[in-house]
Symmetry: C2
Subunit: 437 residues, 2 copies
C-alpha cells in the first residue's frame, strides 16, 4: 500500500516515464534537442526520441498533449476533457527544467538560441540554446481577416475551446428557459452556427446533434422546435473525402429536421449573429469557427523559405534547407514538392520518423520521409461514420465501430484507453453531464 | 441502437427523472413548492418530494448538485470534477421552466413571492410565486472581515473553487521551474497555506500531501526540499472529532517532513502572503481559506428571527414560526433549542424529512424532526482516515477503507458510483493528471 511501491507503475504509464539517471560525464557529451510545441508531431518526437543519447527539451505554452480527433466529442460531454489529454511531463524528461511552459518567440540560428516568453508571466523572457531544433508549433485557426471572428466566434483547437463551447451551449439553453426572454431572443440563442465544413466542423455538428437528440430534448422538451444548427461552407463539405462518402453525408444531414448545410460565405461575426456575403444577417447564439489554418506568429516571423500558405518548406528529411540541424514537422511545415494534408496522421508519422532519424549514427544517413496514408475517418452523428481507407470506402454503423475502435486504440496511454470507453459507456447509459460550471 | 430506445434508461438514472405527464386539471389543483438552492438539503427535497402531488420549482445559481465530502479530492485530481456532480435537471422536473438558474434576492411573504435575479443575465429580475417555500441556500465561507481574503484567498465551496486550486498548484510548480525565478520566489511559490483546521482544511491538506508524495515529487524532483504546506488553526484542529482521533491526526501530521500545523490567527492576506496576529509576514503562493461559515445575503436580508450566527430559527418541524408554509433547512437554518452541526448529513436528513412531511395528508401531522448522528469521517492522507461513529472510534487504514466505501455508496447516481471508483483506480495505477488548462 506504500505510495513509493507504486512509483514504477505510475512512472511507466507512458513509454519514457522512467526517470533517467544523470551523470555529469554523459551530460557533457549529450547533444541538446529542443522541441517547440507539443501537438501530434512534437509529442511523437518526445515519446520516440532516444533520451539516453540526447537532452530533450520541450518549449510549449500548454503542458499536455491533446488527442485532437476526439476533441469534438468533449464539447458536448460525450467524452470528458481529461479523457483525451496527457501531461507532457509524463513523457519523462531527464531533468524537470527540460520542460518550459513558454512561447517560443524568436529564432537566432547564428547563436543557436530560441528566445522564449513564459506563458505564466509575460514579463519573463529568456533564451534556450540548442544543438538540434525541431519546430512543431502547429497552426492557428484562420480568420481570413473577417471582422469579429476573433472577438465573437469560438474556435475548436484546444481543450479550453471545448470547455467554452460546452459552457456556451448549456448557458444558452438555460437562458432560453428564463421567463423574461422573448420568443425572438430564444430563437437566436438556440440557433447554433458552425463555419467550415471540414472534418472538425462536420464532427462538431454531429456530436452536437447527438447531444440535442439524446439529452437536451429530454431536459428541455419545450425548445424542441426552436433549436437549429446551421453548418456553413463556401465550397464542398468534407472535400478531402471520396465523393460517394461526401454525398452520403449530405443526404444524411439533409434528412435532419433541425439542421441545415448552407453554401455561403461569412463576411462578419457580431455578438448576436453573422452576416453573409449576400448581405443577409443571421441571428445566432454561438458561432464555432473552424474554417482553415494560418501560421503562428513564431513561424510568420521566421526568415526562411515558406510556401504560399506560410508553411516552412523542408526537404525530404524534414530539414530546413537553409539552416543546419533545424527541422520542421506537422501543420507548420510543408515538404518541398510533396505537399501533405495538415492532419494528425502526417504530423505523428513525421515526428516518429524524425525521432528515429536523429537517433541514427552519423555514419548511416536516414532514408527520406515517405508518407503512406492509412485512411481517414469522420463521425457524422447518430452512430454513423465515414471510413475512407486504402482498402476501401464505407459508411454507416460499421464505420462507426471502426471509428471508435481505431481512435480508442490510438490513445497515448493506458489511462486514456481505459477512460474513453468508460465515458462512451456512461454517455450511452446515463446521458451526458449537463452541469454548467 | 436507436437513440430513443435508450431514453428510459437515461431518464431514470436518478429516481425522479421520468418525465411526468402534465394534465391541466391536476395542474390547477397542485400546490407549488419553491425550493431555494440545490445543496444537500434542497437536493434531498427535490429527489424525495412527491412530484405527482406538487409542482416543484427550484431556484439556484448553479445547475448541479455537488457531493461536497469528496470536493477536496478534486482539487488535486484524485477524483475528477465531473465525477462528483449531478445535474439538477436529472431530478426530473414536471416542466422545463421549473428550474431557474437564478439567485433568490428577496422574499415578499405577504404576496407569497420570491424575487429572483438571473445568474446568466443580471439585468433580468422577476418574481416567482409559491404556496410552500423551502429555504436551503446554504452559507458562504466566512472571511471574518479579514482584509484581502476575498481578493487573494481561494475558497473551497464549489466545484469552480476546486478547479481554481488545481490550476494554481500546477501553475506554481511550473513557474518554480522557470529559469528567471529566484530561490526566494520559488520558496514563496511552493509554500501553500491552508487556513482553518476543520474537516475541509484537514482533508484538503491531506489530499495535497498525497499529490506531493505520489506525483509532484516524481515530476518535479528538484523542488522536493522547497515545497511546504502550513495548516493554520487558531484553536484545535478537527474540534468536532473525538480527542483521541484528534491527537492521532496531529501526531501523523507532525511526522510529515514538509507539512506543519501552526496555532495562529491570520490578520491579512495579500497577493504574496499572509500576516499573522503577532505581526509576522509569511510569504506563500496560495492561501486556501476554509475558516467557517457566514450567512448568504438572501438570509441576511430576511426579516425573521435568527440566531447569533445569522441562521434562520426554525421549529422542530423545520418551519419558520413567524411565516406560514415557509421552511428552512441545512446550513442556513438552526432548530430552536436543538443546534445541529453544519454538515451534509444534517442537511440531507432534514431535506428527506421535509419532503416526507410535505407529502403527508393535512389530517396526519408529521412527527418532529429528530437528528441521529450516524458518524463522522475524515481523510488525513497517506491512506489513513478517521471514523468517529456511534458504534466506535477508529483511525488508520481500516478507517480509510470505511471512508471510501461509505462515500462511494452515498453518491447520488449510478454514473457517479461507477466513475468515482474508476478515478481512484486510475490515480492508484497511473497517478494524477497534471495537465493545466
Amino acid at each position: 500500500m506504500s505510495s513509493k511501491g507504486l512509483s514504477f507503475i505510475r512512472g511507466s504509464s507512458l513509454c519514457f516515464s522512467v526517470r533517467l539517471s544523470r551523470s555529469a560525464s554523459t551530460k557533457a557529451a549529450r547533444q541538446k534537442i529542443v522541441v517547440l510545441g507539443c501537438g501530434w508531431g512534437s509529442y511523437s518526437v518526445l515519446r520516440s526520441v532516444n533520451k539516453k543519447k540526447f537532452d530533450v527539451i520541450c518549449i510549449s505554452p500548454r503542458n499536455h498533449f491533446l488527442f485532437t480527433p476526439l476533441l469534438a466529442s468533449t464539447t458536448v460531454g460525450t467524452l470528458e476533457f481529461r479523457s483525451i489529454i496527457e501531461p507532457i511531463r509524463n513523457t519523462g524528461f531527464r531533468d524537470e527544467h527540460h520542460f518550459h511552459l513558454s512561447y517560443a518567440t524568436h529564432l537566432d540560428h547564428a547563436q543557436k538560441v530560441v528566445q522564449c516568453r513564459s506563458a505564466l508571466d509575460p514579463s519573463m523572457t529568456y533564451p534556450v540554446s540548442y544543438d538540434i531544433l525541431v519546430i512543431g508549433v502547429g497552426a492557428n485557426s484562420s480568420t481570413f481577416n473577417i471582422p469579429g471572428v476573433n472577438e465573437h466566434a469560438l474556435f475548436l483547437k484546444e481543450i479550453q475551446d471545448a470547455r467554452e463551447i460546452r459552457k456556451r451551449i448549456l448557458t444558452n439553453f438555460e437562458l432560453a428557459t428564463q421567463p423574461l426572454v422573448s420568443e425572438e431572443e430564444k430563437r437566436r440563442l438556440l440557433h447554433f452556427v458552425v463555419v467550415g465544413g471540414g472534418p472538425t466542423g462536420v464532427e462538431f455538428s454531429a456530436e452536437f446533434y447527438d447531444f440535442l437528440q439524446q439529452d437536451l430534448e429530454r431536459l428541455y422538451p419545450d425548445e424542441r422546435s426552436t433549436v437549429h444548427i446551421t453548418l456553413i461552407e463556401a465550397n464542398e463539405i468534407l472535400s478531402s473525402f471520396d465523393t460517394k462518402l461526401r454525398s452520403y453525408t449530405e443526404k444524411i444531414i439533409k434528412k435532419r429536421e433541425r439542421m441545415q448545410i448552407l453554401k455561403a460565405s461569412v463576411t462578419e461575426v457580431t455578438d448576436t449573429g453573422i452576416t453573409l456575403s449576400d448581405g443577409s444577417v443571421m441571428p445566432c447564439g454561438m458561432v464555432v469557427w473552424s474554417a482553415g489554418l494560418a501560421p503562428r506568429s513564431f513561424v510568420n516571423d521566421l526568415n526562411v523559405d515558406k510556401n504560399s500558405r506560410g508553411q516552412i518548406l523542408v526537404d525530404e528529411y524534414l530539414k530546413l534547407p537553409s539552416l543546419d540541424s533545424v527541422y520542421a514537422i506537422g501543420d507548420c511545415a510543408s515538404v518541398i514538392g510533396n505537399d501533405m494534408p495538415c492532419t494528425a496522421q502526417v504530423a505523428e508519422k513525421q515526428g516518429r520518423y524524425l525521432a528515429k532519424a536523429l537517433s541514427r549514427k552519423a555514419s548511416t544517413p536516414p532514408p527520406p520521409f515517405v508518407f503512406k496514408q492509412t485512411g481517414m475517418l469522420a463521425y457524422i452523428g447518430d452512430y454513423r461514420a465515414l471510413a475512407d481507407t486504402s482498402v476501401g470506402k464505407s459508411q454507416g454503423y460499421a464505420s462507426w465501430i471502426l471509428w471508435r475502435s481505431a481512435y480508442s486504440t490510438k490513445l497515448g496511454s493506458w489511462r486514456l484507453r481505459m477512460q474513453v470507453p468508460m465515458d462512451w459507456m456512461k454517455t450511452f447509459f446515463f446521458g451526458r453531464d449537463t452541469s454548467r460550471f
